[in-house]
Amino acid sequence: MSPRRLLAAIALALLAWLLWPPQAAPEHPPDAAPTAAQIERGAYLARAGHCAGCHTARGQAPYAGGRGIATPFGTVYASNLTPEPDTGLGRWREPDFWRALHEGRSRDGHLLSPAFPTGNFSHIARDDARDLWAYLRSLQAVHRPNTPHSLPWPLGTQAALKLWRAAFFWPAPDTAQAPAPGTAGRGAYLVQGLGHCDACHAPRTMLGSVGSLATVHSGQAMPAEPWLAPSLASPLGDGQALGPAPQLHRFLKTGLSDQHAALGPMADVVAGSTQYLRDDDLQAMVAHLLTLNPQAAAAPTATAAPMPAAQLAEGERLYKQHCADCHGAQGQGAPGIYPPLRGSHVVQMPSPANLIRIITTGGFAPGTAGNPRPYGMPAFDLPHTELATLSTWLRQSWGHHATPVTEVDVLIRR
């Protein structure tokens, strides 16, 4: 065979592979009736995976889908998971559901959008998948046709997904049983699998593939939202950006710790997912998360030019006027109510995006069983210059050495 013919044959084979139609799963026998205990475990696992976070639209029927998930490539609409035969999963059987979780394939064989975090859910063990399926089948059936994704051609095509998956997705090993509560590996299983923490907290490439949670980075931009998901491995200040363990545990359980309040997308995660997790599972997750940050004692790296004296005085004036009543004259805050700003990770993050966002939009920590009546922070509608001066002052007071914030920084983030 001449080289030209060989090349043509390879191109043809590639084209055939790309355009080969999806293969529907064989018909499976009906599922066994789920037990009450399975349904209960499944409900818990659905919380751990925060399935409703995407699959329930605001104010609409639980798990009936329809919520638009903004991505840098377009909007992907979560599907109806209720057991309705025509628009939901009513005709699915347990092996279909397992294949969707493990391989990211729908019952009719088509590849699911990577907005559905298959790279994470592929780690889910068969026994957990069975319990999740039992729970989904127990839901009230809701007739709601799925909304088509809004992705520019060719991003939504099966051929594009095939290529993407060839580069970035490999199914995890097929495991029969999840690590039992309290055993080694439980924390990693929850964080990497159902918890899919890396979907926001790990860096993503331009093609949308997810890196490692253990990567130190300056914050991963949330698609279509002006928030940055902080690196969970960042050493910062005293190295306690995440911990210590009991504080991180409390943060995930109640939405508040002595250092932090959950705001923005993380408030949704605490309210819809982590607050419902058992203490033993939270302990395991926290222990795993804290292993991501091996250089806990590293010093802050940012070296900032000090603020001019006039700006310094103006920053202090603004702080006293707007912030000091709640966060304290020394930035000490009221731990567990108003987070301290002295030593705060959010204040000193390499990017000021979250700081600007919080000042301008305020908000309440999520209402949780452990903190059902949160204190709130007003939204401060300050002029750009004042916001830049105040942010810079916060980032350079109390021993902070973060970079200054310019008016342009403020403008592009409001």
Partner: protein, 260 residues
């Protein structure tokens, strides 16, 4: 000296007291000497709803009454049932306002009910309403007619028939219409027309709003915004036959249980 310890005499009491005082003073002095390298004490935060709800006050005013000039509605003294419905509507997407939805997204029903009761219980004095423009006499007359008598030909009930003769609202869930900025009133009626504001079905206010012509909306909003607020603008009781006209026939409201 076990005996002495068991029952010290008067002199020993005195010495014991002096020793205790000195020890306390020393401990204090030591503590204050160390205070320099200690972090400052946490801010003392009052455990009150007013403190928890600081974000609301930034727009709705410390007394929950906002200002008649801008857009933000007063919430002080509105029926708790009405306020709770609005909080739920914002949280669950039946009513749209980015800041309100952002604040309420992750709050539970019980806390929302507390918020509603808190603002419903306020009784704020009201400043005089803004004077309507000089050339608005025709619109004012049209607005007054719609608010007080409605338009039977177009099956439009008077505002008073549900919102109370004094237009201060009706328990448990019909809001007062006075002390609200004109822009806010226009925006709400418009939002009902387009469906971006909804109440629990059957949505009586949507039915009414859709029957209003644009000039009706402008007129009734102008008239309502120019009326003075009574000293105590509290909502009347649900069955206060004296203060309210009979509920319009054939107009069921999902948010307000049918009153006699």
């Amino acid at each position: 000296m076990p005996q002495a310890l068991a029952s010290p005499g008067p002199a020993r009491w005195g010495r014991l007291l002096a020793a205790t005082v000195i020890a306390c003073l020393l401990a204090l002095a030591h503590a204050s000497a160390r205070a320099g390298d200690k972090p400052p004490a946490p801010v003392a935060v009052p455990d009150t709803l007013a403190q928890r709800l600081q974000p609301c006050l930034a727009c709705h005013g410390a007394q929950g009454r906002a200002s008649a000039q801008g857009y933000v509605p007063r919430i002080a003294g509105k029926p708790a049932g009405y306020l709770l419905h609005q909080l739920l509507n914002f949280r669950d997407g039946r009513r749209r306002h980015a800041t309100m939805s952002h604040f309420l997204a992750n709050q539970g029903d019980a806390y929302l009910a507390e918020m509603a009761a808190h603002f419903a219980g306020m009784d704020a004095p009201y400043p005089s309403p803004p004077a309507p423009p000089d050339n608005a006499a025709t619109a004012l007359a049209r607005g007054a007619l719609l608010a007080q008598q409605g338009d039977a030909g177009r099956q439009l009930p008077a505002c008073q028939s549900c919102h109370g003769a004094a237009l201060t609202g009706r328990q448990p869930a019909v809001p007062g219409l006075l002390g609200l900025p004109r822009d806010y009133l226009i925006a709400q009626l418009g939002a009902w027309q387009t469906g971006s504001r909804q109440a629990l079905a059957p949505d009586c206010m949507a039915t009414i709003a859709r029957s209003l012509a644009p000039q009706d909306i402008s007129a009734v909003a102008l008239w309502l915004a120019s009326q003075p607020v009574p000293t105590h603008p509290q909502a009347v009781a649900a069955n206060d036959g004296l203060a309210t006209l009979p509920w319009p026939a054939g107009l069921p409201c999902g948010s307000q249980p049918r009153s006699p």
